[in-house]
């Protein structure tokens, strides 16, 4: 019987927490955007004229096919992160795309229409150098892969290895390039730096070395970048120091040294300090490349040259020109060149490759985004028109990772913001009020100037409100007549305004490439973007909201701290998060590395919160640093404390601000680095509210929570990684006094540790190295049955250590990231959002992570609604808040409260971005979608009339009785 009750209790509790999306709710308040990252290789499918496929391989180890008409993904394969999944080469022939993955570890062939894997071959070890398609008699049959010390040939249709041969003298010679002209031979080119070039000739059938020769080339420092094979197997190299071109026929036996052609004889000169680049084209791998090639002499100077009868002749000089690329359609090969037109636009023109003549009416104007970066890659898709002339489309990649697809005469077909594949940090900012609301608000802000003007002002603003309401009604009426599909509320930066429940917010996203985005959270539309130039690639970003939208007429203000990882030197970028405009506020110079930032609740006269920046000499810089702020800081200096973490020395130290903005060291905790190292330190979120001070127990007494806002959770990992001796340490340290509130060691555990610190609890996930599984552990802190000081919390006056309860659970899945839901007032129960590597986001009720879950069920625990302890944490598929909209490589989850207490906004970011709302305690403050308004109103009216009638009847009856 007890068992039955227990099960009933569990199922009832589950019923309460179960929350899934209904089928008709899909996409109603959530959206997902998929990204690919920075493009390394892009190939257009020229197999058939009607093909819309664009194959891309990216730095994020993603191999995908894009629809070149819309920019949408046809399919996408996300490989492992890191060097293991690195895409080394992408080759395409017909319907097949051959990809070399993981520094030459795997060779894969993909079917390009549906993205299915045709075959996969595991290659021998050795670092990858080059790969090429090899054709025999006008037909491509093989793919050759060159490694550091071996070359192998594989069949294109099955992946079978035909042969593999070791390269001669591979310990001294660096082999870098592979070439085949379709004549039954494969050439492998290598070189010894500043000495000679080695050319080895292999027979395709059996891999026999036909010939091996070495040619003097004392000037050569790299083969890959400065050489190309053109025409019928002629090696062409360029050297910056000698200012010369060198040619060498690969097959000729008699010529034993490279022929030097001085660039001066062609009236050319390489810009100083610029490594010249040769670009050749081989339209068909089974045929030798063309005799024409591009030579880039400086960052904005290209020249099209031709090799004819052993002579090099310039065909056309492109000066200035940013980018140049070849493209082939059918028999025709064209060259597209991007040249600057004016300050904001570039023009792209098409030239015939063999003559250098410009094709008429082929100009595409490319408008550069003033807030974006410079174009740095050009991909051309050429096709034959009906009249046999060549048409083309281009894809331009810019420094800020924007992919723009253009067609004549400059129409942007689509655009992808691939910087969003690498979001580093984000914030959500409330949208501003509408003009009319702001008008009303402004009335309160102004100083009172007499009774009559105030009345007039109020009347006028009421009139404006009335006007706005009429306009709104009119719009409703007007829209109602139109068919539903055509009424689409386009979100633009002008129509932005806060909705009734503050569910729509501005997502400010900071990406690793240094591009900032402002995205509407309701639709996912990018409303503004700003590329910050000259950002170091390994910078650390910290985004701080200094002023929210609540202080009309002051605009909201965000500050981005950009810190160089190596030097620690930082700079501040202040902007308006709604419009993305840079603010003109003067920013303090930061000459010294910034160690810590601190956002104080102190506000200046413009309602901006004060940001303190602590440098490596423990000096404090305040921003903004007006007189008012400095005065306030002086007044409150003795109550401003901050902490610093030096994980290399295992040192945590606390400081107090002095009147003169210097600091003094007040506490020090040193965790010896020989035993364990600090991996993470987390405080609580500043905007978190806790509604209930305690928990009501089964016996009606209250267990008060230990709600220390200054508490830090410090996680350490042992340096000893032996599975029996490794451990994870958890320290709860008060950030003001440095008091170690709790200290625990999770034995036989290893990182990576993910953890959430909120309210009075810490939840962390670790890897149990003994049982080889992931485990969750929860720590909860309670003051006990009595509060020490119920009115105010002070770290300085809390002498009794809290009671700490802890419990652990098995979690049957690996974890990528962890976050907790957050609501406006903290009444709603909390859920943990767990990002899984599978791409799902699990909304796990915090109820399951409660150290007070009893082993044995008692009357009291049932009263308290505690779930009996079970060591394994359940994963229910209906808890996946993103149903089938998986988020690849989820790296972070951001939660923000909305105006509705029941609703929490969630953004998960990684390779993809997914935005949704969660309702941890269901929508208790919202009427259901299918709420029966008709029934309730008819009942109301019915009752109303019934009372009226019965009243009348009663009156009549009374009257009659009186007459009697």
């Amino acid at each position: 019987m007890a068992w039955l009750v227990l099960r009933l209790a569990i199922s009832v509790s589950l019923l309460y927490t179960a929350s899934a999306v209904f089928e008709d709710q899909v996409g109603k308040f959530d959206w997902r955007q998929q990204f690919i990252g920075k493009v390394r290789f892009a190939l257009f499918d020229t197999h058939s004229q009607a093909s819309k496929k664009l194959l891309v391989a990216t730095d994020n180890n993603v191999f995908a096919s894009l629809n070149s008409r819309t920019g949408d993904l046809f399919w996408r394969h996300v490989d492992k992160t890191g060097p293991e999944g690195h895409i080394d080469a992408l080759l395409m022939y017909g319907q097949d795309a051959v990809v070399v993955v993981g520094n030459g570890r795997l060779l894969r062939s993909w079917e390009t229409t549906v993205g299915g894997l045709k075959w996969e071959a595991v290659l021998d070890t050795g670092s990858f150098q080059a790969a090429a398609l090899v054709g025999v008699q006008d037909f491509v049959k093989y793919v050759a892969v060159l490694k550091q010390s071996a070359i192998s040939l594989h069949d294109l249709s099955s992946g079978n290895q035909i042969w593999v041969e070791n390269l001669p003298d591979s310990d001294t010679v660096q082999y870098q390039t592979i070439y085949s002209g379709g004549n039954g031979l494969v050439f492998v080119l290598g070189f010894v730096p500043n000495s000679h070039i080695v050319i080895v000739e292999y027979k395709i059938e059996d891999g026999e070395i036909m010939k091996k020769k070495s040619v003097e080339a004392a000037w050569m420092s790299s083969l890959e970048n400065s050489c190309a094979v053109i025409s019928s197997g002629i090696l062409l190299c360029v050297d910056q120091i000698t200012q010369s071109l060198y040619t060498l026929p690969l097959q000729s036996a008699e010529q034993t040294e490279m022929r030097q052609i001085h660039l001066q004889t062609l009236d050319l000169e390489v810009a100083s300090g610029f490594q010249p680049v040769l670009t050749s084209t081989q339209p068909n791998p089974a045929q030798p490349p063309l005799a024409e090639f591009f030579l880039q002499l400086s960052p904005d100077h290209h020249i099209l040259l031709q090799l004819k009868d052993g002579l090099i002749a310039p065909l056309r000089d492109f000066n200035p020109s940013y980018l140049a690329a070849f493209a082939t359609s059918g028999e025709k090969t064209v060259a597209a060149v991007m040249s600057p037109k004016n300050d904001t636009a570039c023009s792209i023109n098409l030239f015939s490759a063999d003559t250098g003549r410009r094709h008429l009416d082929t100009t595409i104007i490319y408008h550069m985004d003033p807030n974006g970066g410079k174009p740095n890659r050009l991909y051309v898709h050429a096709f034959l028109k009906k009249d046999d002339s060549v048409g083309y489309r281009v894809m331009v990649q810019t420094e800020d990772l924007t992919l723009t697809f253009l067609q004549q005469p400059g129409r942007v077909v689509w655009m992808r913001e691939e910087a969003l594949a690498d979001v580093v940090t984000m914030e959500m900012v409330d949208l501003p009020l509408t003009g009319t609301q702001a008008e009303l608000e402004g009335e309160f802000g102004k100083k009172a100037d007499g009774l009559l003007p105030m009345v007039l002002k109020r009347l006028s603003s009421q009139f404006i409100l009335l006007q706005a309401w009429m306009a709104h009604l009119w719009k409703l009426f007007y829209d109602a007549r139109k068919p539903r599909s055509s009424v689409k509320n386009e979100v633009t930066i002008d129509t932005l305004s806060r909705d009734e429940f503050n569910l729509q917010k501005m997502m400010v996203m900071v990406t690793a490439s240094g591009k900032l985005f402002g995205i509407d959270s309701k639709s996912g539309t990018i409303l503004w973007k700003q590329y910050l130039q000259d950002i170091q690639p390994n910078s650390i970003f910290k985004l701080i909201v200094q002023r929210t939208t609540a202080h009309f007429p002051h605009p909201p203000q965000c500050t981005l701290l950009i810190k160089d990882k190596d030097t620690g030197l930082g700079s501040l970028y202040v902007f308006n998060p709604i419009f993305g405009k840079k603010s003109h506020i003067s920013v303090p110079a930061l000459p010294r590395p910034v160690l810590q930032t601190l956002l104080l609740p102190v506000i200046d006269q413009d309602y901006a919160k004060v940001l303190l920046l602590i440098d490596d000499q423990y000096k404090v810089t305040a921003f903004p640093s007006t007189k008012n702020v400095l005065q306030q800081l002086q007044d409150t200096a003795s109550s401003i404390f901050f902490y610093l973490v030096d994980s290399s020395q295992g040192k945590l130290s606390g400081f107090r601000l002095r009147m003169d903005l210097s600091t003094e060291l007040i506490w020090e905790v040193v965790i010896p680095t020989e035993v364990q190292k600090i991996v993470a330190v987390k405080g609580k979120r500043a905007n978190e509210h806790v509604h209930s001070q305690g928990r009501v127990m089964g016996d009606r007494s209250v267990l008060y929570k230990y709600l220390n806002p200054n508490l830090l959770a410090v996680i350490t990992e042992s340096t000893d990684t032996h599975q029996e001796r490794s451990f994870v340490g958890i320290f709860l340290i008060d950030g003001v006094t440095g008091r170690i509130v709790h200290e625990a060691v999770q034995r036989k555990a290893r990182g990576p540790v993910h953890f959430v610190h909120s309210e009075n609890w810490v939840v962390y996930v670790y890897w149990n190295s003994k049982f080889r599984r992931n485990e969750f552990s929860v720590l909860e802190l309670f003051e006990g049955a009595e509060l020490y000081n119920s009115t105010v919390f002070s770290s300085l006056d809390r002498p009794h250590p809290p009671q700490v309860l802890q419990q652990s659970y098995i979690f049957p899945a690996p974890i990528s990231t962890l976050e907790a839901t957050l609501t406006e007032k903290g009444i709603t129960s909390r859920h943990l959002l767990v990002g899984l590597p599978s791409g799902n986001i699990l909304s796990l009720p915090k109820m399951f992570l409660d150290p007070r879950r009893p082993e044995v069920v008692s009357e009291q625990s049932r009263e308290e609604n505690l779930i009996p302890y079970a060591p394994e944490m359940p994963i229910r598929t209906e808890w996946f808040i993103n149903y089938n909209q998986t988020v690849s490589r989820v790296r972070g989850i951001y939660t923000a409260p909305s105006g509705l207490e029941s609703t929490c906004l969630v953004v998960a970011y990684g390779l993809d971005i997914y935005q949704t709302r969660v309702f941890p305690s269901k929508q208790f403050d919202v009427l259901k979608d299918d709420y029966d308004y008709v029934l309730i109103s008819s009942v109301l009216f019915g009752l109303f009339f019934a009372t009226m009638i019965s009243k009348r009847l009663a009156e009549v009856k009374l009257l009659n009785r009186a007459w009697r």
Binding site: W3, P672, G738, V745, Q746, L796, P799, H800, S808, P871
Partner: protein, 251 residues
């Protein structure tokens, strides 16, 4: 180290020992003062220093000596001096300007055998508001935290009560001797998922079910006699009705 030890010995003999300690958490078996006198000094001691200055620039002076005794349970004793007349006035002055009372100990390992291999460098510091120390009549709780291998990683000091209400303190008597509770806290071992008791409990449930075969029986097995009885009754009633008709046919 030797000088410090000698110093602490002298201190413990000469000075009026006013220390007090209790047992801390699970790792410190507190002993009474009487035991401490006749204990062998197989452990070691480190100085506990304090600083309270009106100008708030730390100048640490000796407050007492912490004596550790090796062994499994890290027991610690604190022998400390009285506050001098001058110190008392300074402390009251510091309290009046809301200054800080700081303490520090050198970084040491409590493992006696490791003393030689690792010399301490640097200190661990903590503070408390001087006014709260004064108002609590010098009753403070000092806790030393160690890591898994026995290194002291942090020190904390709190006074009981911890508040500063601005109560006037009668000096001389109240500010002479420290009433200190000192303890060493080692990290607790966090619990792992408790599978064994859970499985045990499940097994017990199963056993309970097994012992009570009544519950496991199927519906038919339980009530076969009723069903059979019902069927027989039905048959009997139907056969009781048929004879008249049959008899009529026969006739």
């Amino acid at each position: 180290m030797a000088t410090i030890r000698a110093l602490s010995l002298i201190l413990s003999v000469l000075s009026i020992i006013t220390l007090l300690w209790t047992q801390s958490g699970e790792c410190n078996n507190g002993r009474r003062l009487g035991d401490a006198v006749d204990t062998d000094f197989s452990g070691f001691s480190v100085p506990l220093e304090h600083s309270f200055e009106v100008d708030d620039v730390p100048r640490f002076r000796l407050r007492g000596a912490l004596q550790f005794r090796g062994g499994r349970e890290n027991s610690v004793y604190l022998s400390q001096n009285q506050l001098s007349e001058k110190d008392r006035t300074i402390l009251k002055d510091v309290a009046a300007v809301d200054g800080l009372y700081r303490i520090r100990v050198p970084r040491v390992s409590l493992q006696v055998d490791r003393q030689t291999e690792r010399q301490s460098e640097g200190y661990l510091t903590a503070f408390v508001r001087a006014c709260s120390l004064v108002e609590s009549h010098l009753s403070d709780v000092i806790t030393l935290h160690t890591d898994v291998s026995g290194y002291v990683i942090g020190i904390s000091i709190v006074t009981i009560p911890g508040s500063c209400r601005g109560i006037e303190v009668e000096d001389e008597v109240d500010l002479e001797v420290f009433n200190t509770t000192i303890s060493v806290v080692a990290p607790v071992t966090a619990p792992a998922p408790e599978t064994a008791p859970y499985i045990e409990r499940m097994e017990q449930e199963m056993e309970k079910k097994g012992k009570n075969p009544q519950e496991q029986k199927s519906f038919f097995a339980k009530y076969w006699y009723l069903i059979l009885g019902g069927a027989v009754f039905l048959m009997a009633t139907s056969s009781a009705q048929t004879p008249p008709g049959g008899a009529r046919e026969q006739s």
